[in-house]
Amino acid sequence: MAREGLSRGDLLLLIAVLSAFGIATSAYLAYQWYEAASSSWCDIDAFFSCSTVRESPYAAIGGVPTAFLGVGGFAILFALAGAGLRGRDPIGPWSVDRWLLLFALIGAGAGMGLTLIEIFVIQAICILCVIGFALDLGILAAAVALARDRPAFPPTP
């Protein structure tokens, strides 16, 4: 993606759009955890099997679907991008860009961790989870592009 062609507004809108898709994906995964306890879906074979991932102990923490973490994380990114688009900057001690970079890093890190668990521990891949991870990486790329050209802290008035 050519940074030169995209304005700061474009990048913030891109993050907002990707986050919105992330919220939808994570919410659907959470819904599936509750509603599809006895059926298969997006199961292609033994490795690309959403059912296997959904029924693993990593699909929920204390009875709450792990996907809710994704809903929360993407919602924060969406809210931050929306705040940036509305010109609300900085937020607290940091600029919106820095907050976005922080949460994008957390999201991508969590997504990578869960993907590694899928591959090496559960030994099955959930395609929707991978899409969520890809959205995380897209948001991280946009957040890095945003932060690259801006100071980490807003100038002191």
Partner: protein, 229 residues
């Protein structure tokens, strides 16, 4: 943060909010709203107002294309309009399902034994016609073939475990029955009519698909023979 006292209620209000405050909170006050701020104060409010971010045409196009692509991928994955319907000689899609008695069956755990997998509906008359054949088959093959019936809930009132269990008992069917609660299994096998029965060999490969009228006892025996039973 620059503030100014409201000439009506004497409360300190941010400069950028003062006109709106007077207009909304004191609509009947005899105050000229336009004269509340000096020119200098107006410049201050203009500076403090967040600048609208510009979107480029290229950026909007890129984001629109990306949104359409991501939406299309999600729709394809979630609704899967092109299910990998297993043909003869292909591996049957794996699934796990909760039976009407509460246990969980994973199809792949049946590997090593041929499987007779029936998609049916307790409200489907043709399924009631087929079940005596399956009962007779079960009497002769239960030691060498796994039987599993899945209610697809295509027709009639909503099916549930009790209804299916009662139906199976009344027909003398003693193998596991399960309800496909979301239709995921049914879609993955491309089942559009009931009864549809797949006969799988010990490796989980589909060896026959039987639908009425080709679902007589002899049809099943041939299919099970092809599956190595």
């Amino acid at each position: 943060m620059a503030t100014k006292k409201c000439p009506v209620c004497d409360v300190a209000v941010k400069l950028e909010n003062l006109e709106r405050h007077v207009r909304n909170q004191h609509p009947r006050a005899a105050v000229e709203v336009d004269s509340l701020l000096t020119n200098e104060e107006r410049k201050v409010t203009a500076r403090s107002r967040p600048a609208a971010l510009k979107l480029t045409r290229q950026g909007k196009q890129l984001i629109a294309i990306l949104a359409v692509v991501v939406a299309a991928i999600l729709i394809l994955v979630i609704f899967n309009p092109f299910p990998n319907v297993p043909g003869i000689g292909e591996t049957a899609p794996d699934f796990s399902v909760r039976t009407t008695t509460g246990s969980t069956i994973v199809l792949s755990s049946y590997r090593g034994t041929p499987v007779l997998l029936e998609f049916m509906d307790v409200d489907c008359p043709a399924c009631g016609v087929e079940v005596p054949t399956l009962v007779a088959l079960y009497a002769n093959y239960s030691s060498s073939v796994r039987f599993l019936s899945i209610d697809v809930n295509f027709v009639g009132s909503a099916d549930n475990d009790a209804k299916i269990g009662s139906w199976a008992t009344s027909h003398g069917a003693t193998w596991p029955y399960a309800l496909d609660t979301t239709g995921g299994i049914t879609r993955s096998y491309g089942v559009t009519a009931t009864p549809t029965t797949f006969v799988l060999d010990a490796d989980g490969i589909v060896r026959a698909t039987l639908l009425p009228p080709n679902n007589s006892y002899s049809h099943f025996v041939s299919a099970l023979s092809a599956a190595g039973a």
